[in-house]
Amino acid sequence: MASLHSRQSHLVALEGRQIVFCHSCENEWYHEERGLKCPRCSSEATEIVEPESDPRPVTRDLPSSFANAFSNANRPPGIDSDSDPEEGDIEEHAIGGPGGLFLRAAASRPRNNANRSPEDDIMRRFTELLGDLGGPRPGYGDEAGRSPRTGNRPGQVLFTTPPRIHRTTFHAGPVSGTSFTITTGTTHTAGGPEGTAPPDFAAIFGNLIRPPSPNANDPSRNTPGGPPPFPGVFGMGFAEIIASLINPQQAVRGDAVYTQEALDRIITTLMEANPQSNAAPPATQDAIENLEKKRLDDEMLGPEGKAECTICIDDMYKGAEVSVLPCKHWFHGECVTLWLKEHNTCPICRTPIEGGPSRSANNTQGSQQQPQPTPPQNIFASSPFSQSRPHPPPERPGRSHRENEERLNAIRNLSGYRRSDAETRPGVSRRDSLSPTNPRTPSASEDASRSARVRSPSLRERDPPIPSYETRPEYDGRNYATSSWFGGGNSGNNQSSPDRRGSDGRESRDNQQGASHGPLGWIRDHLTRSSGSGADRDRRR
């Protein structure tokens, strides 16, 4: 346990020097001296240490039972340790050690949580289930390949022993926790039905992770050598377990979302955080300044010789200066400016003030129309977050590129967007619902080709998808612990679970396009910006 000794002496990031940390062997070194690859174990699972996210293990006072579980696990020489501050109540560690995979997950939650006892029951059964499993797990082949050391140990047979789970429940103060340790491979040789038929571990994982469905009882889904058909409650409970392991609250871990509900919740939160999103956007400064100014004349006042500004309901008389909107309604310049800074519509008739009559129709449409109702599985194809546009917006002549840009800026400001966000992601048209204008004012044909491009991968999606680390770059590096959870099961997932396959396929489609700013990216931008780690993530690894 050389790694234990290194805990006491972390390198200190001096000025201008970056420390790189190896997740495989817990080595640390200065970036400029040794580069990004681990000089000790040649692993590439390394991370640059940032003050706000230091992956290096901290010496902790673990409850003794926990610590025992830790050492009893007979782990490979190296533990990934993840100290993401966002996930204080969950730990998940995985490592592709020599010839095996080591996974450790610990979740702690308030003791009064009512879910605890079913969880315990479920985990007990899960432990039993995994205890029954054995043999090679093809799904993890590439995982082993990630660790160069594997090849350095000649004669070693990979995956000859079943995966082991060590579960420990501990109680400390107001919090009780359950720790799961899963080990596989040659590092663990104690017992185990080695001779049993090798079940497809990935497929079983796919079954477990799949959202609860009547098929949970379908015996055909169980591979030979696997346990008897799961009771329905097991499947359902396990989905919850996974969700709660990933994040007790939201089934969200880092920048990944695992359930439709979690995604919905995020979208709802975003919409609630931006309650004006349905209302008309503010008018641009230009538009406000360019309003026609007039002195009230007899014609405007009508027979009574006086009228009132409907905003401040003050009487106005002939000769007073007013601002006249395109719809011919007039107000005190001051009053209407205050309103237009929030919404670009007439305070009386709600006609948009910008653009000609043809545009005003579009504008009303754009600002008030909800995203078109579509079948849920199609939501990304036509939602405002989408890059594809089912209906190309009509061209809007008479608007310069600059005007469009300014208008977009105003909209971004309204909803808290930073300009840099949009600039660093060229071609993003994710604000379509708010802004009927598009900076590029795409022609219809261009737009059609875009949608065609976007759609064609969805056809490919019908082919058996073969997600790999290459097509899911954002799961590499920091998140590969998560990938390991699903990683081996990824192919199994996609075969056995249409639901998950849908979202995974979508995700990888975005990546295939080289656009990490698809719908999920958009959400991720939101989520990570607040924690300030969005940029860091890109730099890691």
């Binding site: 004006q276 209302a279 409907t310 905003i311 309901i313 003050d314 009053c335 309103w339 009386i348 709600r350």
Partner: protein, 188 residues
């Protein structure tokens, strides 16, 4: 402040010629942003005979932001939350539909119209909305039961403090789950 001026004017207008069946007062003389309205249940509705308290809260940037109108008296209505909060679903008051040219007078009239004609298509209480659509007689009966239970006698408004005690029937439970009839909806 512009909003103060407009509010004072509107208050004067409303007090001088209040909408049918309403009386208007300020919650406190020092604050024109909170109005207490007493509304008689329209004779043509299931709420006839009841007296309902309405609280109109005007934001500081009124009229650029819509006023907030809530029932201080419990009412059985598809578009009013069936709890102590008494939130009203009124399109006129939604941020995306609000226009600064709308006056409080017309808001109050819209609330009154909502009592005469509930809008079950845009409900806050979907259960009540379903009942309203499917068995009107049952709805009327329940609405009248609520009137008899909550809306007789003088109207009490929530005090200026944070205490959300609304009514003589305050049951110490501010959450929406306190409704005896349940059926809290997700609708607007």
């Amino acid at each position: 402040m512009a909003s103060q001026k407009r509010i004072s004017k509107e208050l004067a207008d409303c007090s001088a010629s209040p909408p049918a069946g309403m009386s208007i007062a300020l919650a406190s003389d020092s604050d024109v942003h909170k109005w207490h309205i007493t509304l008689d249940g329209p004779a043509s509705s299931a709420y006839a005979g009841g007296r309902f308290g309405l609280v109109v809260t005007l934001p500081t940037d009124y009229p650029f932001k819509p006023p907030v109108v809530t029932f201080a008296t419990r009412i059985y209505h598809p578009n009013v939350t069936n709890d102590a909060g008494g939130a009203i679903c009124l399109g006129l008051l939604k941020a995306e539909q609000w226009k600064p040219s709308t006056r409080i007078l017309s808001v109050l009239e819209a609330v009154r119209a909502l009592l005469v004609e509930p809008n079950p298509d845009d409900p806050l209480e979907s259960r009540i909305a379903d009942e309203f659509r499917q068995s009107r007689a049952e709805f009327d009966k329940n609405a009248r039961a609520y009137v008899n239970r909550y809306a007789v006698g003088p109207v009490t408004f929530p005090s200026e403090s944070q205490n959300p005690s609304n009514n003589k029937n305050n049951n110490n439970n501010t959450s929406s789950t306190a409704t005896p009839t349940g059926g809290k909806a997700q609708g607007s």
